[in-house]
Symmetry: D3
Subunit: 145 residues, 6 copies
């Protein structure tokens, strides 16, 4: 009986889209208003999904309390009420929400209670991003062949 | 043209997380406040997903009216405004939301209008669980090999 | 410049609607399925509204951190993951959501940072209750006359 | 680093479920109130999902501005504030929401910035439909075998 | 102890904004795309609010079951899955959502369990309308003077 | 027949809470993490409410198209994707969400189609602020006396 648990965490942060590989003109052309030097921000919603056997005694995929403690320590205490550009995680890459999803995936890959299967990040009510990691269904199918 | 129909049903119920395999001390250690003898509750949202060919005449995957009748008879009339621990479905297992998803999957597997592909249960706005059944993509891939 | 701050707190609890003034038959007739002896539950959302002058220096109606600390101590740490019927607050009254709104109003009336003007409680996505306290606009109008 | 971008577009439209292949009696029997000659309507939410490599310089799967321009031109300017039955897209098929998902899939398949992987349409808060296109996981698995 | 109960009802309907007092050109100029002869539609959410003393025995403002029965009979069974222009209620007025709020107010004014204090109608996620009836706070203030 | 129209506008912006009247230590003590020099951000939702007679011919309180044009010109084109601290509106006051509500009120007070009765701003899903302007019910009651 394999089930999936999804848990949402929320934080409010700002970011500026700007690439060191581009000139000021190129950055403006590519990122438009999102390139303004003072940044803008969002209420980010991060949903992490873990898959695993449902424990026949506890009826659970993993210990939710342990997951919340992990998330507080490694995600919300660091990402809430900051400018993402100032975090070490984004020293060498643009803090786009695609990259944020990849960063969050790396963070929760270290949680040992169950297998991380997806990271979903909502930037606004109209925009969201998913990063399932690199060992996705396509790879599995290829391996199966 | 295979499409997927998802339909949401809602009920308000209570539960107590407690395993007969554990001592009182163990139950408290594992389930914390969720083990309090008087229980607590949630507004559960159940979303069932069915896949099937879109009928070229009706333009539909299945008869939504028939699905609603089925859901009323087998789900909401039984699960709404009750304590889940008192239901036969949870006589031998903890009424965790993972197990609730599995129970709901068993119930809707008997609906004959289309193929059940997933059960999604939201326990709170921050917590949800998915159970796609045991004939999932992994099994299919393995069979393919 | 008088503004209003509203803050939402959430807890999951169960309740049973049953009045000591009624016989078992009367309770069943009045409360229906909500009278089942094992209870049922909800994800309650409590929104408290405070009015006050916007401080010309801080730009704030009140200290949100202080409000959150108060709410944790007096509301969520007590009401989350419990059966409302077991709380002292409901010893002499039915734990209906109307009465829950009144109880929450009493609790937050002790917060000294600003003036409590309303308590709003959502029981489900279709049901909500407001209790503005007894010194409402009608009374003020009468006083004005 | 393959990620997925989902973007929501919204429009308000009406439709009448009625098939030319059926008699008036059959249409009424199959579609019930949804067959009334004057139609009814919904606030449709369309979510299109695109997958692609995250560009190492921009940190993006595709140009969101270009997607929005495409969506305005090909979706919302055409589908908002109309009766779906009057659109060319539904000349030969019932404007069910399953068929709407298929139509939206055809439209966004022409967007060249990234690979369309799913179309999700919410008809009401309780009803939604997904159409991933015909080159789905099943086909991939079959190919793998 | 006066509290307020708000209850949400939902229906999906279509409408065309068109006034008999206007020429075709005037209607198009005033209502734009909303004047197209085939109409468009919405998932309307109606929230009715009732005020009343909280019954010291039941803990309730009014009998919710009775309100739901009333709403089914007088609102949802009539307004769901129809074109509002075809209803008697809109024979002599444009089925704008402002007028819909007024019509709903008239309907629920006949409910005898408590005092109707407001009707709120959501047309889309960005648009809503309130009609508190004609005996509003302004009248009360005037009377007070 | 006086009704109220509420319309929601959305923008994503960043802000830093910092008062020129305070020392760096005081600012940190009062605003905590919200005082970090690089700011953080939110998806702000602004809901403006206008009251007015329902026009007997159009069935409307005001011209929604004119309101949207006004809002685009004076609100969203200016406030979206910026840092609030850099706007002229906040040159002499902290860009708290209370002050943002007051600023938005000043802006929409210039809309001539109907009478502005309230500005509601949601900072997060748990936080919101209302500013009804200075000619509120309290003042009216006092005048009535």
């Amino acid at each position: 009986m394999k089930a999936y648990l999804s848990r949402r965490y929320r934080f409010s942060a700002s970011h500026r889209l700007n690439s060191d590989s581009y000139s000021a003109e190129q950055n403006l052309a590519v990122f438009g208003k999102c390139n303004n030097p003072h940044g803008h921000g969002h209420n980010y919603i991060v949903e992490v999904t873990f898959g695993g056997q449902v424990d026949p005694v506890t009826g659970m995929v993993c210990d939710l309390g342990a997951l919340d403690t992990f998330a507080h320590q490694h995600l919300t205490s660091i990402f809430d009420l900051v400018n993402l550009n100032t975090l070490d995680h984004f020293k060498t890459m643009v803090p786009s929400t695609e990259n944020l999803a990849i960063v969050v995936h790396r963070i929760f890959s270290d949680f040992t209670g169950a297998t991380l299967t997806n990271v979903h990040v909502e930037e606004t009510g109209n925009n969201s991003f998913d990063y399932p990691g690199e060992i996705g269904p396509t790879t599995a199918s290829t391996a199966a062949a």
